[in-house]
Symmetry: C2
Subunit: 359 residues, 2 copies
């Protein structure tokens, strides 16, 4: 229902209705002007042609340098959603299943189903701090299991995985020869330190997905990347060649500018969102909602006992506030997701309306 | 071998070697400056957010108005290659076959095979003016045939389909309930008038793929569109949602500007390429090559009896000229494709080197 709510919110807005949009992870802040200017300079320099389906070497080199891998381990994609799609397409189009801890980002499940892959959901609970139980994971694995998708920090919970759990998952995956796809789009802006899948070696079979959307406020630019072993990077590139061909070079140049300014940009974003998360936490707690403290920007995933969040979400949209119902992320009917991605005053009004709605 | 040649040409260039690139349909001219400025203005206005997976309503409305359909029949894609991919993915991922006349654009076959669909090739010959034989087409159709792909005007031959043949194909497809995917990316800049699949009604099951790359010199921007019945447009949008999400809005605004200036831009391009096609034709004819006169910009697909074009192409690349071997477009070992997409002086030198190479 995530996309339906979004299209409905867009429609209401196009009809002139004011909607406080706390439903998607699209920051209210503008893309930093240096990034916009870099794109413009690149366009004017004629970087408007077809180019390599691997991505520009300059950008791949910079990412490789920052992440301690080789450029041949990096391939540029039109957003991290594409990275997920192409990975599942390559690994599961001929059958097999993928294990996904819940709550999860809706796209994983939609993509897997569209490709015809089976998904096995591994439930985690707020009351356990959203921790993956290694025994349950091991029990879920069967001979057709090809992949585990981790989202660290997690959307919608904003929870980072503790090192011990991640160590355990990697060990198990290595033993069972299962690939981990680690979606770390919120990693660079997490409030705390968290381990990356790259910490387990870049020549493994595991795959990192990352993007520029969240760290650099570049959501609508559609640019991300995959880090994996060279063989997998080559396979992704072959799919890139027969689909979108290449991310516009001027967009890659803009992303490169973002990486050059990364320390400043990321610390500004973290500070901003820390403030918002604190504000939201205080108000939601006072209204009786339960949730884990966000380890990363953007999302809170509160629960209220007895809530029917599908209906709650629709009613709230009529009151001018868009959020995402809990069932968009697995079977979490008492939860809903708030994206702290509207201007501060709107967030305040939005959260107040949410709290009033359950009085 | 089309992509291998291209990656090799890019590599040689990155090593400092001068390559005259007549191998891909990427115009040497710059994107018109008005289009670049429109993109910049849009970025600066903050059009850098997630947006609808259908595409911007403003652009869909403009396309609908120009093509005599409703906005609900239009969905924006990241290039016409994506349009082909998503159409084949939706129609053939659960089995079935697709009929493709040859010579064809390589991507059709690669996409179909990647999705696991069977392709049935329908050979056409230069000596018959590249005409599809309706009886042969009818004989190829079986109970699993779901689609016919037409490329009109054709890449690599630059031949437009005559109205009588197209009428016959549509009639046959309608009788057999087979969908036609008509790739018309060269349509708006053809030197002669040619019928569009839309002339047979926009509420049919047939699908138009078009793009901005060729008409507006926007190859690297990655933007195209599909026109189809509403049900199919909705299906495409659901795949857009789980893959690239949306074409950057500033790119859509740039394309809209292109459409506003279309008469001027398209007539400039046609005049330029008519001149190039005439020059190439004169030289190639004198050197003994056979080919049909181009009905559209960009490509000539000459034949020389006894030519082994895979080897010829590799040898030519060592001499600094990249072209595409005939076998990239079906089984045409005596043909190769020249793209007239380099600056005039380079085209002249390139064609001279080609002619010398077969002396």
């Amino acid at each position: 229902m995530l996309y339906e709510i979004n299209e409905k919110a867009l429609k209401l807005e196009s009809e002139g209705k004011k909607i406080i949009r706390l439903n998607i992870g699209d920051p209210d802040m503008a893309t930093p002007p240096e990034i916009v200017e870099a794109a413009y300079a690149s366009m004017k320099a004629g970087k408007t042609k077809y180019s390599s389906s691997y991505g520009e070497l300059s950008l791949r080199k910079k990412i490789a340098e920052l992440r301690g891998v080789k450029p041949e381990n990096v391939v540029i994609t039109p957003g991290s959603k594409w990275s997920i799609f192409v990975t599942l397409f390559l690994m599961l189009k001929n059958g097999g299943n993928v294990i996904i801890p819940t709550p999860y980002w809706t796209a994983y499940d939609l993509i897997a189903k569209n490709i015809g892959a089976k998904t096995k959901l591994l439930r985690t609970e707020m009351e356990d701090g959203w921790k993956v139980d290694l025994n349950e994971l091991e029990n879920l694995i069967d001979k057709d299991t090809k992949m585990i998708i981790l989202n660290n920090p997690n959307n919608p919970t904003s929870k980072s995985m503790d090192a011990k759990t991640l160590d355990g998952i990697v060990k198990l995956a290595n033993e069972k020869k299962i690939t981990i796809l680690s979606d770390e789009v919120y990693g660079a802006i997490a409030f705390n330190e968290t381990k990356s899948i790259l910490d387990y070696g870049s020549d493994s079979d595991h795959i990192l997905s990352n993007g520029f959307s969240k760290t650099f406020t570049m959501t609508g630019w559609r640019i991300g990347y995959i880090i994996a072993n060279k063989m997998f990077v080559d396979k992704v590139t072959k799919i890139n060649q027969i689909t979108f061909n290449n991310v516009p070079v001027f967009i890659q140049d803009a992303a490169l500018k973002g990486l050059e300014l990364r320390s400043k940009i990321a610390s500004d974003i973290k500070a901003k969102y820390k403030q918002r998360a604190d504000l939201a936490s205080t108000k939601l707690e006072a209204a009786g909602f339960k949730f884990t403290k966000p380890d990363a920007p953007f999302y809170v995933f509160p629960k209220l006992e007895g809530l029917v969040s599908d209906q709650f979400t629709l009613d709230l949209l009529d009151k001018g506030v868009a959020v995402a119902p809990g069932n968009s992320f697995g079977e979490y009917p008492e939860h809903f997701r708030i994206s702290l991605t509207a201007p501060d005053d709107q967030i305040e009004v939005g959260i107040d309306k949410i709290c009033e709605a359950v009085k």
